[in-house]
């Protein structure tokens, strides 16, 4: 067996490969993205980037009904988008196995909320497995397919940032190629009309009881008895933190199955200990279950509901001990993420700031437009919300607001769920201005292709959405394209469209400056003779520009010569 140092996400992909999976459909989302990227490298499996998570889950469900083991991956908020098909696939079940991976982001490294996906498993009545390292990511993925087919249910694999994005050693095995399962027409199983769904709901409840029985004896719910007085019930990454902090000084019940939770196993484990702690990040999911069983466990009264855990937090809360450390007296300025040098979004946000408009924001790199010095964002909720929330804002505040407000949304986000919102603007008519920031890639998650780029996940040519034609087709009469490096053109377009007496779309089009095929101009220089230190060029928040001795200085190693700063300099000092 070959040993590899794999990300948890890569290990899930390896598990898919070994489990004979054939169809994979996902939408990128940190920290889940690399599962599908890694899976796409195996030619034995069909992989795709779907327009959104709902589509991805539906593709996977269709593939499962069609007899092939199928898969989709998403981040925690993506499961909200996919919830509609997922909740009913719970009733339908599977033909060949179907697994859905959801990656939570405790600590919100790259997310807008901190929701705990275990609640979705309970609400959808679906089994959920929770690996704690890369080897388990692979093993649990394969086990999930066995469970899926044995119990006729989709299975959720719950990951989190520290499992998805940590590398650990994985022993790789060969792929088991599985024949396509026969498809047999069976409306009572697969057509969820009320008459068919009613008996299916009964079946789902019975399935949960059987899964609970399975959980009582499952090898992935394991006890480590060290003869200690203190016992810990935990799961996933939290197990690793407790193990690091406490070693073999406590007993463990490590729950590899997050839902449904066993009853007898927990009661027997707890009965032997003087004190039982439940250590779990985010919600009191296991704790509530334990308390329902009548156990007096210690959980959220001691451990936080917010943020990530670590061995330090666990050690301090269980023992009061803390490692000593040194620090400097100096104030260390923070280093927040910023738009990259040459980022095509920068010019647009600078123009929005200058026009002092209300900016309904969205999810992507350009959410950084909310940060100083641009400060050009008023709201950001979820994928696609910029467009519909702007429509609502304008309906509330009327014609004057329409002349002082815009939505900004990336190309991939627009396809994900912005286009339906734009249809609302056209259909229910608000004179809203929507700016599509088309950087020709899905940027934030690390350069994935999408339906507007003309390439698929493998990098092969594919059909490309014509954004201008799409916007016109849904009923937007005013559609125009600008180059965001041309600040004058951006500002002029913005002023005109804000005044227009009908809805409009401005497509700000220029590829992400980090794309390999993008050719950069020579770095610019600020002439200290001409520079008067007015700091006008600093207003765009370019990391390549700084002030030294009262003069602007441009870092030649960072500057890509986009020229946005040049147009701001009244003294023509930058060239």
């Amino acid at each position: 067996m070959e040993k590899q140092l794999l990300l948890g996400n890569e290990a899930v992909a390896r598990g898919l490969y070994e489990a004979g999976v054939r169809v994979i459909s996902s939408y990128p989302g940190t920290p889940s993205t690399e599962i599908t990227e890694a899976a796409a490298k195996y030619d034995e499996m069909f992989s795709e980037w779907a327009p959104n998570e709902k589509v991805a889950a539906e593709v996977a469900s269709g593939a499962s009904l069609g007899g092939a083991r199928s898969f989709c991956a998403m981040k925690h908020v993506g499961l909200n988008v996919a919830a509609d098909p997922v909740f009913t696939m719970s009733y339908i079940g599977v033909n060949a196995g179907m697994v859905l991976a959801v990656a939570d982001d405790p600590g919100m490294h790259s997310s807008q909320n901190e929701q705990d996906s275990r609640n979705h498993a309970k609400a959808a009545k679906l089994p959920m497995l929770e690996p704690a390292d890369s080897q388990e990511c692979k093993e649990f993925t394969k086990l999930a397919y066995e469970l899926s087919e044995e119990f006729d249910t989709p299975v959720i694999l719950r990951l989190c940032t520290r499992v998805s994005h940590s590398r650990s050693i994985v022993e790789c095995e060969d792929r088991t190629e599985l024949p396509l399962k026969p498809y047999e027409k069976n409306p009572a199983k697969n057509v969820m009309l009320p008459a068919f769904a009613k008996p299916k709901h009964v079946a789902v409840e019975q399935r949960l009881l059987k899964l609970t029985e399975w959980a009582e004896k499952a090898g992935i719910n394991c006890v480590e008895d060290h003869g200690a007085k203190v016992s810990i019930i935990t799961s996933g990454i939290s197990y690793q933190y407790v193990k690091e902090a406490m070693g073999d000084s406590v007993n463990y019940l490590k729950l590899g199955m997050a839902y449904p939770l066993p009853e007898k196993l927990i009661l027997d484990f707890a009965a032997k200990a003087e004190t039982v702690y439940v250590v779990e990040e985010l919600d009191d999911f296991i704790e509530t279950h334990c308390k329902k069983l009548g156990l007096s466990v210690i959980g959220k009264e001691k451990f936080p509901r917010c943020g990530e855990f670590s061995q330090k937090i666990v050690r301090k809360l269980l023992t009061g001990e803390e490692a000593e450390s040194v620090s400097l007296e100096q104030q260390i300025p923070v280093r927040p993420p910023v738009m990259c040098c040459g980022c095509p979004h920068r010019g647009v946000f600078y123009a929005l700031k200058r026009e002092k408009v209300y900016v309904s924001g969205d999810i992507g790199c350009y959410t950084l437009g909310a940060s100083a010095p641009l400060n050009a964002m008023d709201s950001c909720i979820c994928m696609g919300a910029s467009v519909s929330a702007l429509h609502g804002y304008n309906k509330a505040r009327g014609a004057e607001a329409e002349k002082k407000s815009v939505a900004v949304i990336g190309d991939s986000t627009f396809i994900h769920s912005g286009v339906t919102s734009l249809i609302d603007i056209a259909y229910n008519r608000s004179n809203s201005v929507v700016i599509i920031l088309d950087n020709s890639i899905t940027g934030m998650t690390g350069h994935q292709q999408n339906p507007t780029t003309g390439y698929n996940i493998k990098g092969d040519p594919a059909a490309a959405v014509d954004l201008e034609a799409l916007c016109r087709a849904v009923g937007i009469g005013r559609v125009r394209v600008v180059d965001p490096y041309d600040l004058k053109a951006v500002t002029a377009a913005l002023k005109e469209e804000l005044q227009a007496e009908e809805p409009s779309v401005i497509i700000s089009r220029r590829p992400c400056a980090l794309l390999k095929y993008v050719k950069h101009s020579a770095p610019l220089k600020a002439d200290p003779e001409k520079c008067i230190g007015c700091k006008a060029c600093m207003g765009i928040g370019c990391p390549a520009i700084s002030m030294r001795g009262g003069k602007a200085v441009i870092d030649a190693t960072q500057c890509v010569g986009c020229g946005v700063c040049t147009s701001l300099c009244a003294k023509n000092a930058i060239a």
């Binding site: 490294h109 070693g247 260390i332």
Partner: protein
């Protein structure tokens, strides 16, 4: 699990800290250790402060490193060296590039880049190795090889055969950049 070693690699998004952590992780796996490498992707990569954790030993549980726990902090930039100093355990080693990159609050003028950081750090009883990694990387052929120069600088203080490092480079670096990176490693090793 006291035998587990913890190395924090810190820098600014885009400096290549991820590759450095992969090289170290791969080398330690080939030394026969259990290894965990924790990376951060997504939002914080965009020019922000980026940290990766590498832990190796007989059996590693947690993939993260907390304050007072690191045997080595490998910093790609002075301010980040200072920021992650509290993660070093007593008697730990800080290997840093002398490079300075202004963060946005300094660029916008709401904060100042502190002076004398390296002197202040060495005053804290820390084993400090400061390397002009940018110049050495340029000497090797590319400013982008700063990460491998620093891996080289750290490697000299470790009891690991050079062959293991070179194997890790071959595994982690694309072929056309291999010779340049080997040179960068050697320059760092000799620094």
């Amino acid at each position: 699990m006291s035998e587990v070693k913890s190395v924090i690699i810190v820098g600014v998004g885009g400096q290549g800290t991820l590759l450095a952590s992969r090289i170290l992780g791969y080398a330690m796996m080939n030394e026969g250790f259990d290894v965990k490498v924790s990376e951060v992707h997504g939002m914080s990569q965009r020019g922000g402060s980026v940290v990766t954790y590498v832990r190796y030993g007989e059996k590693v549980a947690s993939p993260v490193i907390e304050t007072g726990e690191a045997d080595v902090v490998l910093a790609f930039e002075q301010l980040e060296a200072a920021r992650f100093l509290p993660y070093l355990k007593a008697g730990g080693t800080l290997v840093t590039s002398t490079q300075r990159i202004d963060p946005m609050p300094v660029i916008t003028g709401v904060a100042e880049y502190p002076e004398g950081l390296l002197e202040a750090i060495s005053g804290k009883g820390v084993k400090l190795l400061a390397v002009d990694a940018l110049s050495l990387a340029e000497q090797a052929g590319s400013a982008k090889a700063v990460n491998v120069v620093l891996i080289g600088a750290m490697a000299r203080g470790m009891d690991v055969e050079k062959e293991i490092w070179l194997n890790a480079l071959e595994h982690c670096v694309p072929g056309k950049f291999l010779e340049m990176n080997k040179k960068a490693f050697e320059l760092g090793y000799q620094a």
